[in-house]
């Protein structure tokens, strides 16, 4: 199978280039396994990876123009040469490794932690199964950045627009029956950029490797805002 992989080492390269590779692939092989074999032959090829099963979120990259996790992207069925590039829109540190500082900054900015103002009980807070169901599709996010780096609004304003991943987490706490910071969370998202730069392009939904739907979460936040205004 033929690959074309984005290479850039700031110590030696003036500009990035695409490097062709060829590899014999076994049936059922995932892209990460392919990259690891290529790295055994050329150890300068750099990328992040860890769990190999789609839960740690390390190996987000752009594969034939679409963001995804290398470890759960089967090679079979990919158009050749398989073009592998770093996640788009972020500064490239080296090869497929991007600087995600802004992505993490936006995540931290939505205060992604449960806030309860009442005194703590000695037992668990009660939550009905129906209330808990509201967190499904939200809490599973692995912060791989595939969504935010596929979002044109995030490309243009990564410093001002929270981006789909952070907004999904903002809604994860708004939707939690235990959380008591609804008003603060909503007011923190006001203004023309933080939330409202989302133009429902839905790239985030299209690429999320966990099948989550940030656009829907953003819509829910907007609806909550409306309710709170009235």
């Amino acid at each position: 199978m033929r690959f074309s992989i984005y290479r850039y080492n700031p110590e030696t390269d003036r500009e990035p280039r695409m490097q062709p590779f060829e590899l014999e692939v076994a049936p059922g092989m995932m892209l990460l396994e392919g990259l690891l074999i290529l790295k055994q032959a050329d150890e300068t090829l750099s990328f992040r990876h860890s769990c190999g099963e789609g839960v740690c979120g390390s190996d987000g990259m752009n594969i034939n123009g679409r963001n995804g996790l290398a470890c759960i992207t089967p090679l079979a069925g990919l158009k050749e040469p398989v073009e592998v590039r770093p996640l788009p829109g972020m500064p490239v540190i080296r090869d497929l490794v991007v600087d995600l500082s802004q992505f993490y900054h936006q995540y931290r900015s939505v205060k992604p932690w449960l806030t309860v103002h009442e005194p703590e009980t000695e037992v668990e807070y009660r939550q009905s199964p129906a209330e808990r169901d509201k967190l499904d599709g939200l809490y599973e996010c692995i912060l791989c950045a595939c969504c935010s780096t596929a979002c044109p609004s995030f490309w243009w304003n990564p410093d001002k627009f929270r981006g789909p991943a952070a907004l999904l987490q903002a809604y994860r706490f708004l939707a939690d029956s235990r959380d008591q910071a609804t008003a603060e969370r909503l007011s923190d998202l006001e203004g023309p950029y933080r939330l409202f730069r989302c133009h429902t392009i839905m790239n985030c939904v299209e690429v999320c490797p966990k099948g989550l739907n940030p656009t829907k979460a953003i819509g829910e936040i907007k609806e909550l805002m409306l309710k709170h205004m009235i």
Binding site: N9, P10, E11, T12, G28, K39, Q40, E43, T44, S46, F47, R48, H49, S50, C51, G52, E53, G54, V55, C56, G57, S58, I72, I93, R94, D95, V97, D99, L100, Y104, R108, K111, P112, W113, L114, V116, E120, E122, V123, E124, Y125, R126, Q127, S128, P129, E131, R132, L135, Y139, E140, I142, L143, F173, D176, R178
Partner: protein, 590 residues
């Protein structure tokens, strides 16, 4: 000398190495107590391997049926095959409920029962009333409990303003002439530049060493970095011969299929469609403890009752649970099986085989998380050094860990170590001086890989090591095979100085990180095989065909492996609990 003094230094009260659940729980305790904390992690915190824990965390909340911490303690002692230290086990099981409630308050989205309480499921080795009916003690967030806990702990640390050094790799501890640990030399992966982090206290929370074995359920970061660091600092590793093989890894691939699948009612079948666990564990059946189930699967395959064209796996039957249970309680497993096997577990059985999973042994500590050294019962505390989680050996897991006790271990002892460190910081008002020579030792390790030229690659040596460990130190062990295995691993150790990197760049050089990891893997491998060869009995996960029985007269003791000379020593098991009567060793039947 110029270069050395040019290494920048930062100063904190506490340095935490590793950002999994243990490191983050300790960091949270410390940040809330207004200590300055630096958390160094070679990956962004939520990528730590805690994220992959599936089934849940044990606590005798009694939300499903009667339960109490004392029964949990009994199960843990029995599960450990009586090698666990009973003071630490009592401490952990007593603390469990409080710690789980605390996690819930921190935001963990546990699954719920109709009455709004935390959902609990049955797991292996759990009983009511000291060996009676099956208990349901494992608190779960679907089958993503580790993910839910790790993210919540990271979030709480952001709130507490813990200082993170993301993507920094710890090279070595800094130790002064009086034996105090004073921080570590770390490497910023993005720039390739070293940094000295001075700290009054250092907590190691670097996780296990599952990457020692070719087929394993572990993330690629699980390379025993903390274990390598303490060995190089002259501190031993405890009970390294006890390595858990999880019964249900996806056959040939290694991804973990949670014990929760059997907890929810799944069971194992051999090629004759027989539910064979009934023969090995008449009462607990598929929910016997992991060492028992793994040996049963390996035995079925060895004796020709394996499934598939090669007869090399066993089937895990799930389809009878129905779509609702699978979608609600095991959605992660469903997705993983679909992704990697292209089958739907609600329609087809899952091929499984035991895979290397968990390091019971590790850095010797007491129940306060303090690293202790010394043999024959003397427990000298290494001043300034702490360890928690899979890299540590308290020992609450003894010879075999129960499912659901590892997430518990990390939060209980993460918190305990945090509290102990706060006490120590109260006594140690000032940083002790860090001499250049102490820093130089660690920098030498860095310089070694700058050597250019031809030599074996890191990948080659790592592959050879993983194959040797799997072949010579697997589920079943014998004297001859282990002896050969020790020689193989020693050969790899001897080849290591001639290995060379081809990539000598600085910026995000992952090849260099893998070289450091390999050094740690080799040291952990030597510890594991050496201790396994010496232990002439079968206990928990350590199963010797030539010594099939447990031998409490000669072997009811912890092993200690020292890097210098590959020396072994032993210390007694702490059989006296804190407040209750001891559970004396007896035959272990499930």
């Amino acid at each position: 000398m110029e270069i050395k003094s040019a290494v920048p230094r930062r100063r904190f009260d506490t340095l935490v190495i590793g950002a999994g659940g243990g490191g983050l729980r300790a960091a949270l305790q410390l940040s809330q107590a207004e200590a300055t904390v630096a958390v160094v992690s070679k990956v962004f915190p939520t990528r730590s391997h805690t994220v992959a824990a599936q089934g849940g965390i044990n606590a005798a909340l009694g939300n499903i049926g009667p339960d109490n911490w004392h029964w949990h303690m009994y199960d843990t002692v029995k599960g450990s095959d009586y090698l666990g230290d009973q003071d630490a086990i009592e401490y952990m099981c007593r603390a469990a409920s409080r710690l789980v409630v605390e996690l819930e308050h921190a935001g963990v989205p546990f699954s719920r029962l109709d009455n709004g309480k935390i959902y609990q499921r049955a797991f292996g080795g759990q009983s009511q009333n000291f060996g009676g009916e099956q208990a349901a003690r494992t608190c779960a967030a679907a089958d993503r409990t580790g993910h839910a806990i790790l993210h919540s702990l990271y979030q709480q640390n952001i709130r507490a303003k813990t200082h993170f050094f993301d993507e920094y790799y710890a090279i070595d501890l800094i130790k002064d002439d009086e034996g105090y640990i004073l921080g570590a030399v770390v490497l910023e992966i993005e720039t390739g530049e070293p940094l000295v982090i001075e700290a009054k206290t250092t907590l190691i929370a670097t996780g296990g060493v599952g990457r020692l074995f070719r087929n394993n359920t572990n993330a690629r970061i699980n390379t025993g970095d903390g274990m390598g660091m303490v060995l190089r600092a002259g501190i031993p590793l405890e009970d390294m011969e006890f390595f858990q093989f999880h019964p249900t890894g996806i056959a040939g691939k290694g991804m973990l299929i949670s014990e929760a699948v059997r907890g929810e009612g799944g069971y194992l079948l051999n090629k004759d469609g027989e539910r064979f666990m009934e023969r090995y564990a008449p009462k607990a059946k598929d929910l016997a403890s992991r060492d028992v189930v793994s040996r049963a699967i390996a035995t079925e395959v060895r004796e020709g009752r394996g499934c598939g064209p090669e007869g090399d796996y066993i089937l895990l039957k799930v389809d009878h649970l129905g779509d609702e249970v699978i979608n609600k309680r095991l959605p992660g497993i469903r997705d993983m099986v679909k992704t990697f096997l292209h089958i739907d577990p609600s329609k087809q059985d899952i091929p499984v085989f035991p895979n290397a999973h968990y390091t019971m042994g590790g850095i010797p500590t007491n129940r306060y998380g303090e690293v202790v050294t010394g043999v024959n019962g003397a427990e000298d505390v290494v001043p300034g050094l702490y360890a928690v989680g899979e890299c540590a050996c308290v020992s609450v897991h003894g010879a075999n860990r129960l499912g659901g006790n590892s997430l518990l271990d990390i939060v209980v002892f993460g918190r305990a170590a945090g509290n102990r460190i706060i006490e120590y910081l109260g006594e140690q008002r000032y940083h002790r001086p860090v001499s250049d020579s102490a820093v130089e030792r660690a920098l030498a390790r860095l310089a070694r890989w700058d050597q250019k030229g031809d030599g074996e690659s890191v990948a080659q040596l790592r592959n050879d090591l993983q194959r040797a460990m799997e072949h010579y130190c697997g589920v079943f062990r014998t004297e001859d095979v282990l002896r050969e295995g020790l020689e193989k691993v020693r050969q790899i150790e001897r080849r290591l100085p001639d290995a060379r990197l081809q990539d000598h760049s600085k910026v995000f050089n992952t090849a260099r990180i893998e070289a450091f990891e390999l050094e740690n893997l080799v040291d952990a491998g030597l510890a594991t095989v050496s201790a396994a060869l010496a232990r002439h009995e079968s206990r928990g996960a350590h199963s010797r065909i030539d010594y099939p029985a447990r031998d409490d007269v000669n072997w009811l003791k912890h092993s200690l492996y020292f890097k210098e000379g590959g020396r072994l020593d032993y210390k007694p098991v702490r059989l006296q609990p804190l407040t209750v009567e001891p559970f004396p060793p007896k035959a272990r039947v499930y």
